[in-house]
């Protein structure tokens, strides 16, 4: 952190901190070392001096007592009193009994002295010295002196204090001098820096002071000035060049302005043209909308034609069947009246019984079956008196009269009313068959109407769920009149969950693709209609035909709008383009592969489209449907 901080400071402060730091460290080390040394020396000296003092006192006391010079003893004692470093003094006799003690205020005994002696290790400011002494009054006794080091300590503290004062002076001195030195180094640098700043703010006239700072810095300033001279010169030259360049630029500028004016006029012309083009484009767009609508109407027209045809066939069948029945019933009424009057009660019962059997029989026999049945019945009828056996056998066979039943009514047939019975049975049977034909026709109409209903319900631009397989079937039903003649549809449907989509639009896709196939095959051939589940969220519908195929040259263009191979006026050319738009609106894809005998359109779609796109073709339709639904509810 410290280093970082230091590096960010100006050079002056760095030098100041560095020099002051070194000096302070040196002084501290010196002071500590010095005071420790001092202490050691003083302690040694003091220890030695205490021995000397002890000996001197001992000698003084011994001589003073020997000569009985109490004045000299007094002198020694007064010296002791003056001497602050002697704490206690005590003399004992040969039995170590205390003779005298200094000072008398302290009632010290020998044990106290001994205590002090043992405490020396812990109590540094006192220590005991002792020696033997001799006098006539004491014999060989001891002299104890307790010295203190209090004053030593004071002296030491004074020394440390002096060193500290000295050190403070040194530190201040060093600080000031290093500040001055740093100033001496950095001031020329700062002036150089100021000059460079001025130069960088485009004032090349400024020059650095070449006479400030050390020799090196003066040299730097001088060469910097030389560099500035060169720069100044170069800049003057460049300014001249720039002026020339500016003049030529001005001339060019005038030319450019003229060119711009010309361009502006052209631009205005272009704008006008662009406006005209925009208007034309809008016209085209509206034309396209009209065309799309026309395509829709065209396919609707085809649908209506197809449905009309589909309705026409069973209607015709019903009409002719009803005609037949009414004709039959005239004969039946006549014949029945005759037979009721002429037949015996037994034969009447047999006749009625056979009538019931005929009415109940609903089996529809083919031409081949009728022929073989007719031959079989002819053999039975040969045994009767009937004239035209084969004719009568065919009449019975046409209504599905079995040989067993023929045998049953044999007596009746052999009678003179045989022909009448056969004709009557035939007529009743035929009317039954006609009724069955009506049933079939009506059921076909119901089927178609149902499909149409579903188809029309979903032929809207509303979003919902639908069963694709059912939609494909309905489409096939609606296109049935175009298929049934010579086209076989092979259906291969996988099971598929209901799909979220615009069902009406997808129906348009299926109708378009199947219708295209039918047209491509000129109404003859095989269509393979496949519904495949690809994965959990994708399925595909393939429409394959074995027609002549699409020319490879035009294959890439078939989805382009207005592209058609049909005769003028036959198609809008929008069919496949709309198909592609619808599929892409469902986030699906359409692919086509084609070769003679095999053309496949493959539509791949997601099963659940969660974001319905607002219809773009005709929003008014939805509105109408909504109103219709509301009306229906009411």
């Amino acid at each position: 952190m410290n280093k970082e901080w230091l590096n960010k400071r100006p050079l002056k402060q760095q030098l100041l901190v560095l020099v002051t730091g070194i000096v302070v460290a040196a002084i501290v080390i010196f002071a500590v070392e010095n005071s420790m040394m001092h202490r050691k020396i003083v302690l040694d000296t003091y220890a030695r001096s205490t021995h000397t003092q002890l000996d001197a006192i001992r000698l003084g006391l011994e001589i003073g007592l020997e000569q009985e010079d109490f004045q000299s003893i007094e002198e020694i004692l007064s010296w002791v009193r003056r001497n602050d470093n002697i704490e206690y003094m005590m003399i004992t006799d040969e039995e170590d009994e205390v003779i005298a003690i200094y000072p008398d205020s302290v009632a010290a005994t020998l044990s106290d002295i001994e205590k002090i002696s043992t405490d020396v290790a812990t109590k540094e400011d006192q220590f005991v010295r002792s020696t033997t002494w001799y006098s006539d009054i004491s014999g060989v006794g001891n002299l104890y002196i307790v010295f203190n080091t209090k004053y030593l300590r004071q002296a030491e503290q004074q020394a440390v204090f002096r060193i500290m004062i000295l050190a403070s002076f040194l530190i201040i001195g060093t600080g000031v001098s290093s500040f001055l030195i740093a100033q001496g180094i950095t001031k020329p640098l700062e002036s150089l820096q100021k000059v460079t700043q001025l130069v960088s703010s485009d004032s090349l006239d400024t020059r650095a002071n070449e006479n400030a700072g050390s020799l090196e810095l003066q040299a730097v300033a001088a060469s910097f000035n030389a560099m500035l001279d060169k720069l100044d010169h170069a800049q003057t030259k460049r300014i001249e060049e720039m002026e020339q360049y500016n003049q030529s630029l001005e001339q060019q500028n005038i030319k450019l302005i003229q060119a711009y004016d010309a361009l502006d006029q052209q631009r205005k012309k272009l704008e006008e043209e662009s406006k005209r083009a925009t208007i034309a484009l809008e016209k085209l767009k509206s034309a396209q909308v009209q065309l799309i609508q026309a395509e829709k109407m065209a396919s609707l027209g085809q649908l209506v034609a197809s449905v009309a045809h589909e309705l026409n066939t069973p209607s015709g069948a019903i009409y002719s069947a009803i005609n037949e029945i009414s004709k039959d019933y005239v004969e039946i009424m006549d014949d029945t009246a005759t037979l009721v009057n002429q037949l015996s009660p037994r034969d009447g019962l047999i006749y009625l019984n056979s009538l019931k059997r005929i009415i109940v029989n609903t089996q529809n026999l083919s031409t081949v079956e009728i022929r073989s049945l007719s031959q079989e019945l002819a053999k039975i009828l040969e045994q009767t008196n009937l004239s035209n056996v084969n004719y009568h056998a065919r009449l019975l066979a046409q209504v599905g009269f079995s040989p067993e039943l023929t045998t049953e009514i044999f007596p009746l047939l052999s009678s003179k009313y045989g022909e009448l019975v056969i004709r009557s049975l035939h007529n009743i049977g035929m009317s039954r068959i006609h009724i069955r034909d009506i049933e079939i026709a009506i059921s076909r109409i119901i089927h178609l109407v149902k499909a149409l209903k579903t188809y029309s319900r979903i032929d809207s631009d509303s979003f919902g769920v639908t069963d694709i397989a059912q939609d494909l079937n309905n489409t096939l039903i609606i296109l049935n009149n175009k298929i049934k003649r010579a086209i076989t549809v092979h259906k291969e449907f996988d099971a598929l969950p209901k799909v979220r989509c615009y069902p009406g639009r997808l129906n348009q896709v299926w109708t378009n693709l199947i219708h295209n196939s039918i047209q491509a095959m000129k109404g003859k051939g095989d269509i393979y209609l496949r519904l495949k589940k690809i994965d959990d969220n994708h399925f595909c519908v393939e429409v394959e035909d074995n027609g002549p195929g699409i020319d490879p040259d035009i294959l890439p263009n078939i989805f382009e709008p207005y592209f058609t191979t049909k005769e003028m006026g036959e198609g809008t050319g929008l069919g496949l383009s709309i198909v592609k738009d619808i599929i892409e609106a469902h986030h699906g894809t359409i692919q086509v592969t084609s070769q003679p005998g095999k053309t496949v359109f493959k539509v791949t779609l997601p099963i659940s489209n969660d974001f319905p796109k607002k219809n773009s073709v005709n929003p008014i339709q939805d509105d109408n449907i909504d109103k219709g639904q509301i009306r229906a509810k009411n």
Partner: protein
């Protein structure tokens, strides 16, 4: 010291006169008071002058006899003196080598007390007490 020994040639039965500088007058000094003075306990005379005790050096018969009269001995007195000196509150005793010296001391220094054989008492001093056998 041979010369000096002849000066202390008295017998043990001689009486000893305790003399004091003429500035001091204390006629009825008792033995106990004298002992107090020589054990350095009494420090001033009645008139406030400082007591200066003088004594002989060594162990002459006169000195032994003097302390004998006071019921003590030289060694004990010296111990007492040393002890008193350590306290630092007394005037140290003056010691002399001869009777003549002591007389000069007593005569010339106020407050000084000394002792001489009764026979040698000079005129210019006051005698405080005469010590002799009963």
């Amino acid at each position: 010291m041979v010369g000096t020994s002849s000066m202390f040639g008295q017998t043990s039965t001689d009486s000893i006169a305790v003399i004091v500088n003429s500035s001091i007058d204390h006629p009825d000094l008792s033995k106990e008071q004298l002992l107090n003075i020589y054990t350095l306990r009494a420090r001033n005379w009645k008139n406030g002058v400082r007591v200066v005790v003088s004594d002989y050096k060594g162990n002459p018969i006169l000195r032994e006899q003097f302390y004998n009269y006071l019921g003590t001995n030289i060694k004990t007195i010296k111990k007492i003196w040393l002890k008193a000196q350590f306290t630092g509150r007394i005037t140290p005793p003056q010691t002399v080598d001869s009777i003549q010296e002591m007389i000069e001391l007593v005569v010339n220094h106020p407050g000084t007390i000394g002792y001489v054989p009764l026979s040698q008492v000079p005129e210019s001093v006051n005698v405080l007490i005469i010590l002799s056998h009963e």
